[in-house]
């Protein structure tokens, strides 16, 4: 059997598509855009409303998926010059390349999804040991010390709540990604400060942004490989 050059190339292209690389979902937050309104917390509000995250007044027991941290607390004292010290930085789960939380979870309740790199939580399997909270260097996880429903004024039936005794965190809105939508925080931001997409795809907006702008991450020296990038 003889194969033409054209057929051979078509075959190669088909094989390349079939064995395409897994996606690596990442987020870039442009802080100069974010700081156009330093009092804005719409990303956190939208996220917490979409996922039934309760507002618990006791800070030792609060639940947060995305929240505001002072610049020096997010990036370290030595990196905070006078221009940025005290400025609010939105922080969330970094969906790390090498997530410490996944390494320590004894039940496999938290795992890194092969197809797109999301660090997922299977609340059904969580036994509430909080190893993941101790392991996470970003404080991105919260524990339900009590029934979260008693702190929820409105309840969106489209998304489950959690129950007492489990850990929760940002999931990069995997339920919205499955419907072809952007994460809730990205969608609601009035300044379009957040860009979300597949960093492994060179033609994606996020990949181009990360190529052309200087981006930095939280605690890169730990080697966790966070997938949330910041741009100034």
């Amino acid at each position: 059997m003889k194969i033409t050059r054209q057929a051979f190339l078509a075959l190669l292209a088909a094989a390349a598509r079939a064995f395409s690389k897994p996606r690596r979902m990442a987020m870039a937050i442009d802080l100069s855009k974010c700081w156009k309104d330093r009092g804005c917390t719409r990303c956190a509000q939208a996220c917490h409303a979409a996922h039934n995250v309760p507002r618990i007044p006791d800070r030792r027991r609060e639940i947060k998926w995305i929240w505001e941290e002072r610049f020096e607390n997010a990036f370290g004292q030595e990196s905070a010059g006078p221009a940025v010290a005290g400025a609010p930085v939105p922080v969330l789960c970094n969906h790390c390349e090498h997530p410490a939380c996944v390494q320590v979870c004894p039940t496999g309740a938290t795992f890194k999804r092969e197809s797109d790199g999301l660090v997922m939580m299977d609340e059904h399997r969580c036994i509430g040991c909080r190893y993941c909270m101790a392991a996470c260097p970003y404080g991105a996880r919260s524990f339900n010390w009590s029934d979260p429903r008693s702190f929820l004024r409105t309840l969106d039936p489209a998304y489950p709540t959690r129950e007492k005794g489990v850990v929760e965190k940002c999931t990069f809105c995997n339920e919205r990604l499955a419907r072809g939508q952007q994460p809730a925080c990205v969608e609601v931001c009035p300044f379009k400060a957040m860009v979300f997409g597949d960093a492994a795809d060179p033609s994606s907006a996020i990949a181009q942004l990360l190529r052309t702008r200087h981006a930095f991450r939280r605690k890169p020296e730990l080697g966790a490989g966070p997938n949330v990038f910041y741009i100034l």
């Binding site: 999804r113 299977d122 969106d156 489209a158 489950p160």
Partner: protein, 124 residues
């Protein structure tokens, strides 16, 4: 003599108490539960016999497909593409209070679905 009477009375009382459930059921046999089926729908996502016996296993399999594998839809035997969702697919037809809760109460089981998942008809 009096001791024997007390013992006999005690044994009789115990037997009466221990056998009470059998007498009660013999007097009024428990009626089989008839659950209201959703109007307008002719077929569930699997045959009725399978759903009666194994809907719990089906839901656990759905859970793993959604949470672990990221699958969100499936093709039902009638050819319709449906979402792998307790709240949107099952409760899209069935009423939780009238269907799930009544049968679970009847057979005295307490699945934990609703400590997190929310019934859209009565959220709380």
């Amino acid at each position: 003599m009096s001791e024997r009477a007390i013992i006999a009375a005690g044994v009789a009382l115990f037997l009466a108490g221990a056998c009470f459930p059998f007498w009660r059921n013999a007097a009024a046999p428990p009626r089989p539960l008839v659950l209201p089926l959703p109007a307008g729908e002719r077929q569930c996502v699997a045959p009725v016999a399978y759903m009666r016996a194994s809907h719990g296993d089906l839901l656990l399999a759905w859970r793993d497909r959604v949470v672990r594998s990221g699958e969100r839809v499936f093709t039902a035997p009638d050819g319709r593409v449906r979402e792998l969702s307790l709240v949107r697919t099952c409760l899209g037809c069935h009423q939780k209070a009238e269907f799930c809760d009544r049968c679970h109460q009847y057979v005295a089981v307490a699945p934990e679905c609703w400590s997190c998942h929310v019934d859209p008809r009565s959220p709380r």
